[in-house]
Each structure stands twice: as C-alpha cells, then as structure tokens.
Symmetry: C2
Subunit: 324 residues, 2 copies
DNA sequence: AGACTGGCAGCAATCGATTACACCTGCAAT
DNA sequence: ATTGCAGGTGTAATCGATTGCTGCCAGTCT
C-alpha cells in the first residue's frame, strides 16, 4: 500500500506538501499537479487510521440501535445513512439486541474507535451515556432518551400518540380498550401507555392495570400478551399496541382465535412492515422513522461541526389514521 | 481521556509494561496488579486507532449489503454479527443500495479503515474486488459472487431452487408458469431464472422469453412486473418470483386484480417477512439467511486467523415447501 | 539599497499503542 | 569468582498522516 512518503518521494516534495494537496490547503498549482499525478500513479489512498489518530476524530458515525430486524429501525438507519453520506460520513451500525451490556460494549468501541459522533436509540432509560458525555463526544438520542443527560434528542410525541390511539378506538365504538406495551424501563413504552391510560380514565374505564400487559417489543411478546388479555376474566374488546412487531403478534393471536379486526379493535404504533400485505382495519399511528433518522443526523452533524450549547430536543409529530 | 502514558505514570512503570499487562504478555504478578489498578482507576480504554495503526489491522469486520431494508439481509447481518461478536469482533454495516458506485466507495473506506476482513453481498456480478484482493485482505462473498476472483464464497443452490420452485407450481396443476426475476447482472437472479427455464422447457412450455420479466428486487418492481405479465397477450397462470420483496409486490398486484392465490399460483424465493401476516397458499423456497451469515463469518474468521489456500465455495441447500 | 511582508514549502513533533532490542538482576553452573 | 542464562523491565523506534514553526525567496515600500 502506497503511503504519503512514497508519494512525496515520487513527486520530489515533502510529505507536508502532499498532505496539503490532499486536504486542499495552499499549495502552488504546479506542485499540486505533480503531487496529484504521483498519487494516482501510485494509487495512493490516505490511511484513515493514521489520520484519525492525528486529528483525534474520524469520518464515521456510530448508530446504535436495539433491534436491526425491526423495520422501524432499518428505516431510521436509512435516514441517518442518507444524510451522513451526503456529508461524507460513513455510518457504522451496531445492534444491541435490547441488551444494556451489549450497548455498553458498543459505546466502548465507539469511543475507542474515535468516531465523530453517536446516534443512540437506547436499550433502556437507564442506559449509561456518561462516558460519551465525559468525552464531550457529540451524541444524539433518538426515539428513546436515557434519563439524566443533557444531550440532543429527537423523539415522537409518544404520550399524545398513545392518547390518540386510544381515542380512535373509543370513537370507533369500542368500550373496553386495553394496552399492550413494551418493557417498563423503555421510555416510549411508558409514555405511550401513559397516553392510553389518560384517555381510558377520562372515558370512565376502571381497573386499568388489569388491561395492561408489558411485553418485549417483539412479535412473540405481543402474541403472548394478547393471549393473556383474551384469557383474562374481563377481556378488553380493543387494544392499543405500542409497537409494530407486537402489533403483528397481537393480530396473529386475534385471527388465530377466530376474531376479526372489526370484532376486536386494534391500534398500533408504527407502520406494519410491507404494508401491502398487512391486514386492514387497524388504526395506525404512523411513525416517520426515516425522518427521525434524517433529523438526528442533521443535529449530530451540526454538533460535529462545532456547534455548542445545551441539548436540544426535537419532537416529531406522529399522525394517526385509520387504514381501510 | 486517559492514555497508556497516564497509566504508566500513575503506576510508576513504563508504557511497555502497561501494554504487556493489557495484552497478556509476561509481567510479574505484583506489577500487573498495580497496573490493572491504575488502569481502572483512570478508566483507561486503549485507543483502537493507535493500536490499529501500529498493528496494521483492527477488530472490525465490514459487512457490505445491497439493501438494509430487506429482511433477508438483516437476518444475514444478524448471523454475521452473532458470530463476530463471539470472536470479539465488531461489525460495521454498509448499505450499497444496489449501487456499484456506493459499493466501490465503501470498499475504499474498508481498506482505509484497515478492517480485519470484508463480507460482501455484491451489488452486481461485475463488482470490483481487485483492491481487496490486491491487499490480500480476507474477503468472503455471500449470496452473490462477483466473477473472476478467487475468494471464499457462500451461496445457495440457486439454479436448483429455481427448478424446484417451478416444479412445485407445475405439480400443483398450473400449466403456464412465468418468472419474475432480478436485475440481469445479479447472479442469483440469473441462476434462479435459469432453473425455472430448464423446468419450463422440460414441461414443454414455449416462448419462454415472453414469460420472464426482469425487475429490481424491490416491492414496486415486483408489482410492476406482475402487472405486465397479467396484461400480456398470453398471460401465465402462475409465476416464480426470485426474491421476497418482489414476491410481496406480485401478490399485492394479484390480489388487487381480484385474483386469488389459488387461481394464480405463486412461488417465491425467501421467506415473507413477518410470516404471521403473510398470505397463505404461496410456495416458498426457504432461504436460511441467518445461516448464510454465520457460515460466512466462520470462513472469514478463519482467514483472519491466518488460514491460507485457494477460495472455498460453500453452497447452502434451500428447502422448498408449500405453506398452507 | 535595505527593510519588510506575504506566500509557500520543509522540518520535525505529534497522536497513542506496540514491540525489537538493550539492559539489569539474580541464580546456577563452571 | 566468573560466566551464562533466563525472566522481567525500560528505552526508543515505529505505524502514517497532520500541522506548528521556521526559513527562504520574490516583490514592495521607503
């Protein structure tokens, strides 16, 4: 592999000059031409490791997400990637599997690799950002925001979404609306449930705790929770499900139990993946995941560009609608 | 950020000793204890950039895939990641968007970043691996293998799969079986179509070219191709679709046209994502994507470990079945 | 003519960890 | 007592690119 030394020797100049040519600093045009010629002659590719060591940064953004198999997060990733790409950054995707330990490890890797910044969809509201913050490394929290840190964040209006989802079900005539939500220590799960709870209470529903199930944001968890609700003494006649995968599980259970989506109402957060094949008759709180990624990348790039100041929080509105 | 110098000073030893402790070389136990204590005291994390520069390698594997929003590739990624994780490697995911230019760029990044190895699902059979090969950097091709390079490869038995898919449709009683396949320069697309073509010819079908459509391996492409086939002078009564996303598009078009999956037979490569909601009555050639990833990672890790020799080719069998 | 300025190029330090080599100590063999 | 050896530690070179500082030269000003 050709190094900057080789190029310098080949062109008969110093390494400093080569470096300046490669980085657009002031160099007389004739030398620049000479250097560029030598560089392409030798197929010179600057070694990023060396550059990163010297400059104490890199052109890589780490994107840490809890579940790479959830289309919500892959859309998010696309958004981040597209924006980062435009700005000349590469994106490293890390999958934590909703596991705080893996997350911790990936944060360590990000630091040790000197990434330019981190976009994190936290595995838990107690995720530990202290090392990143202590390093003053740009961080943007997305979707879920760990407590106690002053970092930029982009989220949805989760509580409102939960309320709207519940409202849409009541308005469609269901009277006993339950809720299947995610792990108790995940912020989106808590907030969305809170929204549902508020509306359910307003509508005079009692014994709300009997109507809630906490699951794991995955298909099987949703299916299981739905089973439990159906088998409970006073089962609901409709349910708010706080993420897409659990929604699939819940619908699966319902259909398997011989219920139609008219008999039993379902409102779900996040689009069903591959909508063309999705069942009809489900209320969907549309979450613009890609937009979330784009926004987060914008924020992060600004910070990387040197912007300072306290953490900003952007809340994206989610739009509920009823799919026919 | 604490460096090895800080730790050395704090422990009253040389940096060499600290390095040796961190890397398990020979150091007396008492000094080792001292060093470990200082290291944790100062929260020392070895800088991977510096290590990588010095050692001329890193603990990162690059996984380059054409479409991060295709569940097939995210499963693959999971397989790679799980295995890499076990071996202490991190996985960097790069999305080429089926674009040879983006792919080229990511290969450049991989080289410049000194990754330990690359797993590549090529955007095209003409993808350029020469830089990787010239560097003697470990490479494993998955799913799709660019022509003309002697590298390890893991693929499916695509032609056989195509034949089996076609056979299953004929055996179910359909007589005019068409094919919707991917871009002409993608190997899997060509081979699967070839398998279909062989069987279709055996069954006495003529004018096969009228029954084939080349699309882009995406949902809309599949839908469009299906429309074209339905509108053709002599439309087929069944179709082999060579990837999962196009399968969704095709089914969508069929249902929209008022056809049932009994009237019009469909066989598809790769599982419908989120099977619980998938339509029934489709023949599926099951592709063990995760297994593909695990196998590729194994091969790559062996190469990284120093194994030499000519490229090996592993062909995973795919199992067709009919979903009821 | 002499002083000064600005533009450009090169030298060498630097980033942080690894490691070849030198060196030291203590102990055993001669 | 001297030599040899082994195990452990330190010194300093090294990886490749970036960049602060210095120096040179030509052109301008007085």
């Amino acid at each position: 592999m050709a190094t900057i030394q080789d190029v310098a020797a080949h062109a008969g100049v110093s390494t400093a000059t080569v470096s300046r040519v490669m980085n657009g600093a002031k160099v007389s045009e004739d030398l620049a031409v000479l250097v560029r010629h030598s560089a392409s002659e030798l197929k010179f590719v600057p070694n990023r490791t060396a550059r990163s060591l010297r400059r104490q940064n890199s052109e890589v953004i780490a994107l840490i997400i809890p579940d790479i198999e959830n289309p919500f997060f892959t859309s998010l990733a696309r958004g981040v990637e597209d924006r980062a790409q435009e700005a000349g950054f590469s994106v490293v995707l890390c999958n934590t599997d909703e596991d705080v330990v893996k997350e911790e490890r990936y944060i360590g890797v990000a630091i040790a690799e000197n990434v330019a910044g981190v976009i994190l969809a936290a595995a838990s509201s107690r995720s530990d950002l202290s090392r990143l913050v202590a390093q003053r490394r740009p961080v943007v929290a997305v979707d879920r925001v760990p407590h106690g840190y002053d970092v930029d964040a982009v989220t949805f209006s989760d509580a409102d979404g939960g309320a709207e989802a519940a409202t849409s079900l009541f308005d469609r005539g269901y009277t006993r609306v339950g809720c299947i939500t995610g792990p108790e220590d995940v912020e989106t799960a808590r907030l969305r449930e809170e929204g549902w709870r508020r509306v359910a209470a307003e509508r005079g529903l009692e014994g709300l705790d009997e109507l809630v199930r906490f699951a794991d944001y995955r298909v099987n968890g949703g299916a299981q929770a739905m089973k439990e609700l159906l088998d409970s003494p006073e089962p609901p006649d409709a349910v708010v499900v706080t993420n897409n995968l659990m929604g699939i599980g819940a619908v699966q259970t319902l259909l398997a139990a011989g219920l139609s989506l008219q008999q039993f109402g379902v409102a779900v957060f996040g689009d069903f993946p591959f909508a063309p094949l999705a069942p009809t008759g489900v209320s969907v709180v549309h979450l613009p995941a890609r937009q979330l990624g784009v926004t987060a990348a914008d924020l992060l790039l600004k910070r990387i560009g040197g912007e300072t100041g306290p953490g900003r929080r952007v809340v994206l509105k989610n739009e509920p609608f009823h799919r026919e």
